[in-house]
């Protein structure tokens, strides 16, 4: 955790959540940790934004939720990707790739 961390790029949080959940169902903290780990600490997820986004994605029907008991007898909410969520992930991935390629091409041209 020595590298300087930044906030998640505006508008990509949904994509990151969907991608993270495409591996396995997870609770909110797990998703945050996973994003940090995989980005090697580049992205730091704001918990408020994350939980709000989860609420929103669940409403949109892309995630299903499930309450599970934790070890210390508390409730934890687990999120899993739905079929429409998976389609949304594919769509957003393609969209993101398209944008990144375009930006990269622009940068290369400038260079």
């Amino acid at each position: 955790m020595d590298e300087p961390s930044t906030d998640v790029i505006q508008g990509t949080l949904d994509l990151l959540i969907l991608k993270t959940l495409s591996l396995e169902p997870m609770h909110g903290y797990g998703i945050a940790r996973r994003i940090e780990q995989i980005s090697r600490g580049v992205f730091k997820v704001n918990p408020g934004s994350l939980l709000t986004a989860l609420q929103r994605l669940e409403r949109a029907g892309w995630l299903d939720t499930e309450w599970r008991q934790t070890a210390n007898a508390r409730r934890a909410r687990f999120y899993a990707l739905t079929r429409t969520g998976r389609r949304q992930l594919e769509f957003e991935t393609a969209d993101w790739t398209r944008r990144v390629t375009a930006v990269a091409r622009l940068l290369k041209a400038e260079g």
């Binding site: 609770h27 909110g28 903290y29 797990g30 945050a32 940790r33 704001n46 918990p47 408020g48 934004s49 939980l51 709000t52 609420q55 929103r56 669940e58 409403r59 949109a60 029907g61 934790t70 210390n72 508390r74 409730r75 934890a76 909410r77 429409t84």
Partner: protein, 878 residues
Amino acid sequence: MLWRQLTRGLRALFDRSGADRDVADEVQDYLEQAAAAHRARGLSPEAALRAARLELGNATGVREQVRGVGWENLVESILADLRYAARRLRATSGFTAVTVLTLALGVGATTAIFSVLNPILFASLPYPEPGRITSILEVGSTGAHNGGTFAMYRELTDRARSFAAIAVLKPWQPTLTGTDQTERLEGQRVSAGYFQVLRIAPALGRSFTPSDDRVRGPNVVVLSDALWRRRFAGDRAIVGRPIALDDDRFTVIGVMPAGFENVLAADAELWAPLQYDASLPVEGREWGHHLRTIGRLRSGVGIDQATRETDAHGRAMLEARHPATYDPNTRFAVASLHDELTRGVRPALLAIFGAVLLVLVIACVNVTNLLLARGVQRRGEFALRAALGAGHPRLIRQLLTESLALAALGGVVGAAVAMLGIRALVALTPPGLPRVGAIQVNGAMFTFALGLTTLIGLAFGLIPALQAARSDPQQELQHGTRRTAGGHRGTRNALVVAEVALALVLLVSSGLLLRSLERLFAVPVGFDSAGLLTMQVQIAGHRFDQDSDAFRLFDRALGAVRGTPGVAAAALTSQLPLSGDRDEYGASFEATPTRPAETYPVFRYAVSADYARTLHIPLHLGRALDDHDGATAPLVALISESLARARFHGADPIGQRLRIGPAGPYAIVGVVGDVKQLSLALNESDAVYIPARQWPFADRAMSLVVRTSRDAAGLAPAVRQAVWSVDKDQPVVRVATMDRLLAASTAERRFALIVFAAFALAALVLATAGIFGVLAGSVAERTREIGVRAALGASRRDILALVMRQGMTLTGLGVVLGLAGAVAASQAIVAMLFGVSRLDPPTYLGVIALLGGVAALACSIPAWRAARVDPANTLRAE
């Protein structure tokens, strides 16, 4: 996923604590997971928890953030606004009640009047392409509109190219016979094209064809839906079956649809072809002006073009047919049927509409005033809420919610007022108002009322909201306790002046109408109306084709009525004063050495001998008619005083002779007093009275006038029974006391007066409330100043005068402005005035005195309150 949005949102709405617990649990779990992760990396439990808290940030903030997702939050905040608004409105129940009632009055009155006027004045006629339906008129040299003659109809159907269809029509009152229950019906005789002009086809059967409409053509009849249901049980097999009308067989050929509205004769329930005999002599009555002509314009033809064509054909026809009497000032015109139907009532109705708009304006002014006053009082509250973090949009939304809630309440109460108002107005409508049947509480009215309330609510809600948005909370809070009224005092004063002025306009208008009615009732009718009962007896059926049989029936009926207990005298007349009857003939006097031959239009009364005695019409000269003036006796007549004066200029008319239309000559045997025939307001009273048996034909309908020695209305059943005891098959209609006829003849003015008086009263109350509100507010705001004045030596009387002066200055300004307005507005009701100038000084002075008195009363309460301010208390409060 709309479904999920909906269910989750609803769950949050209905189980807020459950939803909140979910969010709290999730946040808590997040915190613990984070802490656990920190501990796993070797931090102490306390340090781990601290680090986790740091990572999460403000837990409450996060919970709020997550809670904020979803549409239900908007609903919740609106509900919260509404709850708050309801609390505020309940807390200030006096303000709420006054505002809601003011709005309800304004909205309700406007809506009621609009609903009543809409079908009459504004809505188009209930036929396809109604703009093309026209009335074809012959306009005499005096400007009088005439419905036209059969000659004009024939000329136009033969030659005019402007019309797709033309029809003539006349009233028809057949009696349905041959059933258990003889009934006199209202109907119309129409030429074949009538339903083509209206473009309404029967729901059952067929309409008329040209082959139905010829002399001695088939007896066919079309029924209205109402008549078909009432008398024929809605039997669909009625088409083709015969019914008996006046003892003749008529074949039913069609039934009109249920929704068919016959604007030309709203009461008509059946139609038969006109079957005009064109071979009758041109000079006869049949060719006279007793028809109405309507036409449907061809597409692309304008009213002007049709008028030019009709005028050309009409004049050519008149000149060719009646070269001797052709008057070049006579012209022919085409007018929209709608305009022609409403021509007589339009000025009065527009004046009423204007009056209700004034009421609405006053109501709006009053509401604005109330909301402004409240806005001033609430500035401190707004400032506090702004200081506590309520954003301006939030404040504005809150105020708009309050205003809309007020407007909605006002709208609901207003709708109730409107419905009651419509019912009252319909009950009050004067006879002769077209399309009264089409008046109803309709969707348009509700839209109108609702739109109105919403607009008022939004407009006035924004005033305090904008005020609050503009203001600087800090400054406001500092000033809060002192409740400065600022520049709004000026606005509110101006509004009160406007209210007083508008109220004065309405008061003056109703005052003028009241004086007119007073004058009208003071007009002598020419006979004694008290205790007179009237009804019309008609004879129906072929049994009375011989005039002598008709006379015998009338005589026996009269005898039976005279024998009824409670009847002091009874007589028959062919036309009844003030009943709507109008039967005029030309009375021609032969040339004498001193006077040329002259013809006067006169009312013809064919009467039984003691008609004048029964009505108490005074006999000025000569003798009355008596039973010796029979069919074979010398022809005699009474003339009215005005006719005697016009023709004989004070010379003795007794023994002089006159012809009445084709009949006569009659010898004048007496002169009687003038009688109002058409209306109290009209001075036409030239009349002749002749014995009924000396007229060339027997009138088929005679009015019975009965002088009673007790309650006239109560005697009606006995009198009717007496007529039926002679012949139970004769319809007896139009039963009314003479006093009721008299009242009905002034119905239009009375209607206008009642409406205006109601509005004026409302305006007076609102204006008074306005003056009182502003003064009371001003005294409350100036308590400190008044205390200082008192401390410095102002007496109670000084302070009383100070406040009274303030109030009366506003009233005075309002009166001055209102006078100018009233003078202008009186122009609009000039047609309804009688015997008073529209600038009648007593009316204006009386209204000013009334308004001044009421205003002084309204001022005196706040003034008295101000005078009682204790200087010690106010100064201590500083």
